[in-house]
């Protein structure tokens, strides 16, 4: 009965696997590290307990008891930070959403602006190398933004916890993204046409919503509204239920966005905005959330690039990297994003030059933790190292954003990633013990048909009978 036995062994292994999967992740205790909570508090020698993907408790090392099932990570000499949040990125997009491919495909051009229904979620392909790049600078959460069209589509907030797209999602359809771009050869072929089109689209959505609302109230005496998928997508954004994120390529784009938000009564967010300091008063008056890009290239419209090569070089090197530092002086709250950057490592370089340009390190941390969390409406679950929040934690050697420091451990949704092979210890090797003792009913293709299987004993020490 060799086959029979083989089958049983296979099945047992399968159960073990199921058992592990049922628990989101093992329990961890990061012990003795410096804890930067993210709300202003710092605990010099602290412990953080992670269970079921959440931060179970956090506090001074002396006060916390380490549960027996926890895998202990020695944090001495290391610093724990809340996982960083990148509130506007183009990472993980598997293929470009419609219309972003070959620009010569003019037959598709006509509908480019209509991509509001496109959802970044549908285009995400988890990629290990990208995830690791981001982990290594401390990022655990990113907002993936689709498309570059006028109505580019809706973004999704994901935690960098593994390779399963469904499990990564923290918030689906976070916002509607709008770019100030133009069509080729089709309306709108100019920026002024784009502005008109954005306005008309939202007014149409409002009209559609009004009609549909009245019809829903009572259909009697009313023509049934024709289903309009575009307006249907826009409705929650028109009604201020969700934010509309404007990608602002230059300072006049910021003015344009602020004006549209006021005119149309939207819940607006300013993104891109690498000329934000130049219109700080406008932004401050608008009170809109601000996602500042870490891409420092001056826009082609800028006078700094149009008035000679010397000024252009200075702009690239000194003026634009100081955007965040200048904004910080005005007291306008902002988040920092990778918007426009391709690689995670570019992001770190930009962060370092922003710091060099005068942005205090603690402001950078705020701009990539609490602030984006608040702006994105996820501050109840992430953004700081507080008990009950999602276990998005990074453990570094040296301070975050420092040139010589390195991220060693990352927890995303409590899933542990390690970026240095420490001396192997047995306790750290094996996953938490899983108890599979008990009576199991299994079905298999064994020649003898169905069999009841009992696993007596304790823990994983049981034998099949």
């Amino acid at each position: 009965m060799k086959t029979y036995r083989k089958t049983i062994v296979f099945l047992i292994l399968a159960f073990c696997y199921v058992g592990i999967q049922a628990r989101t992740s093992p329990t961890y205790a990061v012990v003795g590290c410096r804890l930067v909570i993210g709300n202003g508090t710092v605990i010099e020698k602290g412990t953080i307990l992670i269970r079921d993907g959440l931060i179970q408790s956090v506090g001074p090392a002396a006060d916390l008891k380490i549960p027996p099932d926890a895998r202990v990570i020695q944090g001495e000499g290391k610093i724990a930070y809340p996982g960083l949040i990148d509130a506007h990125s183009q990472f993980f997009l598997e293929r470009k959403p419609a219309g972003q491919g070959d620009e010569s495909e003019t037959d598709e051009a006509a509908d480019l602006w209509k991509n509001a229904h496109v959802n970044a979620y549908d285009f995400i392909k988890p990629k290990k190398s990208t995830r690791e790049d981001l982990h290594k600078i401390g990022v655990t959460t990113v907002v993936v933004v689709p498309g570059r069209e006028i109505f580019a589509g809706q973004s999704v907030i994901v935690n960098l916890n593994g390779d399963i797209r469904e499990e990564m999602v923290l918030k689906h359809s976070y916002g509607l993204h709008i770019n100030f771009v133009t069509n080729r050869g089709e309306y709108p072929s100019s920026l002024m046409g784009t502005m008109a089109l954005i306005r008309q689209s939202f007014y149409d959505a409002r009209h559609y919503g009004l009609h549909a609302g009245l019809y829903k109230e009572s259909p009697v005496g009313l023509k049934r509204p024709a289903y309009n998928p575009f307006c249907e997508t826009l409705l929650p954004y028109m009604n201020k239920e969700k934010p509309v994120v404007f990608n602002c390529g230059n300072m006049e784009d910021i003015n344009r966005a602020v004006r549209l938000v006021e005119e149309l009564g939207l819940r607006g967010v300013l993104s891109g905005a690498n000329e934000a300091w130049r219109v700080a008063d406008v932004i401050s008056r608008s009170g809109l959330p601000l996602f500042v890009s870490l891409k420092f290239n001056p826009p082609s419209s800028s006078r700094y690039v149009r008035l000679g090569e010397d000024l252009k070089k200075k702009a690239e090197k000194d003026i634009y990297p100081a955007n965040a530092a200048e904004l910080n002086k005005t007291g306008i709250p902002f988040a920092l994003t990778s918007n426009g950057l391709v690689k995670g490592s570019d992001m770190l370089k930009s962060l370092q030059s922003a710091i060099k340009a005068g942005l205090p390190r603690e402001e950078v941390l705020k701009a990539m933790t609490v602030r984006p969390a608040v702006f994105l409406g996820i501050d109840d679950v992430t953004g700081t190292l507080e008990a009950g929040k999602i276990a998005n934690v990074v453990l570094t050697e040296g301070e975050l954003f420092e040139e010589k420091s390195a991220v060693r451990h990352v927890f995303a949704d409590g899933v542990h990633f390690e970026y240095e092979a420490p001396p192997k210890k047995k306790a750290e090797q094996s996953p938490a013990a899983v108890n599979i003792t008990g009576k199991w009913r299994v079905q298999g293709a064994a020649p003898s048909g169905e069999k009841a299987v009992r696993i007596p004993g304790q823990g994983t020490q049981g034998r099949t009978q």
Partner: protein, 418 residues
Amino acid sequence: MNRRFYIITVVFLLIGTALPTFAQDVLIKNGTVLTVTKGTIENGDVLIKKGIITRIGNNIEAPAGFKVIDATGLYVMPGIIDSHTHIALTGTNEGTDAITSEVKMRDVINSEDPGIFTALSGGVTMVHTMHGSANPIAGENVTLKLKWGKTAEDMLVSEAFRTLKFALGENPKRANSFGPTRGTPRYPQTRMGVIAIIRREFLRAKQYKEDWDRYNQAVKKNKRLIPPRKDLRLEPLVEMLEGKMFARVHAYQADETLEFIALAKEMGFKIACFEHVSEAFKITKELVEENIGISIFADGWAYKMEASQGIAYNAGYATKKGVLVSINSDSGERIRRLFNDAAKAMKYGGLNEEEALRLITINPAIQLGVDKIVGSLEVGKHGDIALFREHPMSIYTRCEKTIVEGEVYFDREKGGEK
């Protein structure tokens, strides 16, 4: 009592020190002041407080904190106004459709266009920057003060007329013979088509207005009515019919100009100005009767068929016949020598210096509806001023400084950057 006094004093002192010294406080001293509307003052001074002219005359002392600009040997004139240009914009034409009344130049102001600085170097302080002439009904234009280095919002002139650009003749009917939509003929392809499509659009606008009026009445009784769809393309035309906006019409030939006047009467909207009209000298009577201005080139013609009958005497002759004439640049290059162009009307048409000056100052100001605030040097108007080293109508002249609301935005001595 004593304490309160101290507190009040301290508060006042604090307010006093906190008050900014206005960059716009300036005294222009000892120049030949060409007021345009109130004659010439030799060795004259112009006092500008917070951007507004508060005194003009001789021997004015500079109040404390005022900057003094020595204009000895210089000519002081109102800032030049260009009634028709396309600078400071991101994009000029939405050429994909014949009717694009929904677009607004206000949306696409490019405050960083170096053309602004070029214009300042020629003494220009205000422009009416317009949609191009690709479409019969194009878009809403915008009037800007040339505050180089400031943002679009700072440059807007809210007092100016709201104007909608129209285009007749060759440009709108051949708009699709080049560019990305080349080869796909767009209606209209003829002059009659151009007028017809404009008429059609106004008729649609009238219907639209009626629909809304009917809805607004009916909804008072029946709350469950569905309103008409808001149509941004038709709304500017409704505003034209209501007299809230005026037409600025690109037209060359006398015949189409008269045709458009008839259409305006038929539909009931107002024309502020015709653009280019190289045949204006043929229809001065009608233009005067209808109180319509013209914004033209000094001596550009025959660069296309419809401009073949232009004459250099157009501006001078039309002025003498009582037409409100302005000289425009329609270009980011000619804009810096509008004073030369205006002076040509002295040689061709026999205008005197002041009449010629009016072509680029008070006349365009009237055309834009801003003559209450700019266009001449008068107490109460904005301190928008150009300083020339010879009389601005002299061929040997050159702009030395350009001032907008008391702030120097161009200074030849300092060159490039403000």
